[in-house]
């Protein structure tokens, strides 16, 4: 267990800067998830922490000690590589116990860890095979096993489940949570997967183009995104962002005047007909016919239904409001049909208003 701290860390590759002023405090036994689009610097961040790349500026601390110049082998971290990086000449078993053996662990410990990990990762049948004789998903599980058997201070996972099928992925996600609850090892986990980010992370770090956009608990990111990028990146389907005009008492959306909830917009924001972006999650819409009386909801009347996608557990509506498109996720009881119009209700306190220039959230 260890705490980790990035302080004003920059990373340059030649003349391009790929990480800008990264500041991040990770507490002991915290599970932090890094998300962001491809190429935003997630792997680079992990590699800096692992010591596989030198930092260009700033400091990295592990347990309050600066580790900038410490070699990877002395940092006591275990890493699952994005490309697996298995030892091709060693079989699965030797791959998994390699780190323990180097650390001169006792034979009993090695046995029991190997046993546990291979069971959990469903690798028992493959222990004697070489990596070349495994499928992509099996290799990925070996890479995972190699990391989790170790007594490391920090676990680094670089998209460890990306190659598994949906079922196995859910299973592994659950196992990772269990391992973390049992051993409480500080972990940094990179993923593209919304669900992994939301379910695994004590906190989630959203990155873009080498900048940290926002750090927070999954619910914070979901309910209070700092800007349009985070708002649309977190949550699936992503938040509707609509053109709107802001007035002191109401917001105008395609000719409809929707009264604002009190305290929605900070008073410092000029609101005399200024163009803004209006954000509302598809999950927060409801069919007017299905709500019980007494709920203080705002209604968006006569929205044209373009296409309906039934997803089983709910129905996803693609809608047209004037020239703009939006999505709504309604529960199964809704009887809406394609081509109809529908009155959508939502809680204005769940909506967000973003600055059109800076894209910052004006409501938090």
């Amino acid at each position: 267990m260890a705490s980790v701290r990035f302080k004003n860390v920059d990373k340059w590759f030649g003349k391009t800067q790929v990480l800008h002023d990264i500041n991040l405090d990770i507490k002991e036994s915290e599970f932090v998830v890094l998300v962001g689009p491809s190429g935003c610097g997630k792997s680079t961040t992990l590699r800096l922490l692992a010591g596989l790349e030198d930092i260009s500026a700033g400091d990295i601390y592990i347990n309050d000690k600066i580790v900038n110049l410490l070699e990877p082998q002395h940092r006591n971290i275990a890493m699952v590589f994005q490309n697996y990086a298995l030892y091709p000449h060693k079989n699965v078993q030797e791959n998994i116990i390699f780190g323990l053996k180097r650390a001169k662990a006792s034979r009993d410990l090695i046995e029991s860890r190997l046993d546990k990990a291979s069971k959990m990762l469903q690798l028992q049948e493959f222990l004697q095979r070489k990596p070349a004789q495994l499928s992509g998903g099996q290799r990925q599980r070996v890479a995972m096993g190699r990391a989790i058997v170790r007594d490391a201070d920090v676990f680094l996972f670089d998209e460890p489940l990306s190659n598994l099928d949906a079922k196995l992925r859910n299973q592994m996600r659950y196992e990772i949570r269990r391992i973390h609850r049992e051993y409480q090892t500080t972990s940094v986990y990179v993923t593209h997967d919304q669900v992994e980010a939301m379910t695994l992370g004590d906190r989630v770090v959203v990155m873009k183009d080498g900048y940290i956009e926002q750090v927070g608990t999954p619910m914070e990111l979901y309910l209070q995104p700092k800007n349009i990028f985070v708002a649309t990146f977190i949550g699936a389907p992503s938040m509707n962002i609509l053109d709107a005009t802001l007035y002191p008492e109401y917001i105008e959306l395609e000719g409809q005047k929707l009264p604002l909830a009190t305290n929605l917009v900070k008073t410092s924001v000029p609101s005399d007909g200024q163009k803004v972006k209006f954000g509302i999650r598809p999950d927060f819409f409801q069919d007017e016919q299905l709500i019980s009386a007494g709920e203080a909801l705002t209604t968006l009347p006569n929205v044209h239904i373009d296409i309906i996608e039934p997803l089983g557990y709910d129905r996803e509506l693609n809608l047209k409001l004037g020239h703009q498109t939006l999505k709504a996720r309604l529960d199964l009881r809704s009887t809406a049909r394609e081509g109809d119009t529908i009155n959508l209700c939502f809680d204005m306190r769940r909506a967000h208003i973003f600055d059109i220039e800076t894209e910052k959230n004006l409501t938090i």
């Binding site: 082998q73 994005q82 697996y84 990086a85 298995l86 091709p88 190699r146 190659n163």
Partner: protein
């Protein structure tokens, strides 16, 4: 390749292959044939000996001593003369048994083997470390150093012989046997190192770096990861490089002829064969048998290298 080759094309191709093979292999067949012939058979153009003669091999490998038969009859008569004292008799006999006539093949073989094997081992060890540095580490002057090493290789050979010999005389190495052998060893190492570095460096570059990174996060230092990851993954190439160095040293004549000229017992096989060739009473079966025996390690090495060239050891470690 076009699968629809006509019969004529096929025949021409086969003919060409046979011709090339014949051209390459005929000398070896000739050597083998002559080494098995009796003296009366030498002039016979047929490749198949009239009667197989293994004496040359036996003699070279030390199964039979040079016999007294070689002593001419007149001398034998002389020896039977009771007036000759035992000391005088020994003196006369020694002339015929003198080592200048006996060809100590096993000794030459051992000389060559030890010299070649040590040159190849040292060259390989240095090449592993050097090639690792060239392929993995970033340091100032890397390109310049790399190029100048290749440059040494291209210049090498005859041009450097006189200066190198002068140097070893100046330093005092050429004054003793061991010094001369050391100089020769160093020269073989330096001669083979550039190509070894080049071959190994290129091979190391095909091993994904992230495998080593994984080893370092698992607790290996850089040097340990060379031993635990790089070397096991490069076995085929290491064997190839060793064989390459070994054969170069095994066949080398020029430098050996200069540095070992005066030390007959330390001659290597190419030198020894040369002296057999130029000796007045050229005994062809013996020369050819010696040539044949000299070839054997080369062939063994070659087959060993072929077996190991299959490669593909580093597959499966990383996602392509």
């Amino acid at each position: 390749m076009n699968r629809k080759r006509s019969l004529l094309q096929n025949m021409l191709l086969t003919l060409a292959i046979v011709a090339v093979l014949f051209f390459c292999l005929f000398p070896f067949v000739q050597i083998l044939s002559t080494s098995l012939k009796h003296q009366f058979d030498w002039g016979n153009p047929s490749l198949i000996p009239v009667k197989i003669n293994l004496n040359a091999y036996k003699e070279l490998l030390g199964f039979v001593q040079a016999t007294e038969e070689q002593i001419p009859a007149t001398v034998k008569k002389l020896l039977e003369n009771p007036l000759i004292t035992p000391e005088q008799r020994e003196k006369i006999l020694a002339k015929y048994r003198s080592t200048s006539d006996v060809f100590p093949f096993p000794r030459f073989f051992l000389n060559t083997f030890l010299l070649s094997a040590s040159a190849a081992s040292v060259s390989l060890a240095l090449a592993v470390l050097g090639a690792y540095a060239f392929s993995r580490l970033r340091f100032g002057g890397r390109t310049i150093i790399q190029r100048s090493i290749l440059f040494v290789y291209m210049v090498g050979g005859v041009l450097l012989m006189v200066p190198l010999y002068q140097m070893s005389v100046k330093v005092g190495l050429a004054r003793t046997v061991w010094g001369s052998l050391l100089s020769l060893l160093l020269i073989y190492i330096i001669q083979t190192l550039p190509v070894s570095l080049y071959m190994l460096g290129n091979y190391f570059r095909t091993i994904p770096y992230s495998i080593e990174e994984a080893a370092t996060t698992d607790g290996c230092s850089r040097l340990q990861s060379i031993f635990v990851i790089i070397i096991p993954l490069s076995v085929p190439m290491l064997v190839t490089v060793f064989v390459y160095c070994f054969i170069i040293a095994w066949n080398e004549f020029l430098f050996a002829s200069v540095f070992l000229k005066q030390y007959h017992m330390f001659h290597t096989l190419p030198l020894a064969l040369q002296s057999l060739f130029v000796s007045k009473n050229a005994i062809w079966d013996r020369i050819m048998a010696a040539s044949m025996l000299t070839l054997i390690p080369v062939i063994v090495c070659f087959m060993f290298a072929m077996r190991n060239l299959s490669g593909g050891l580093a597959e499966g470690g990383v996602k392509e």
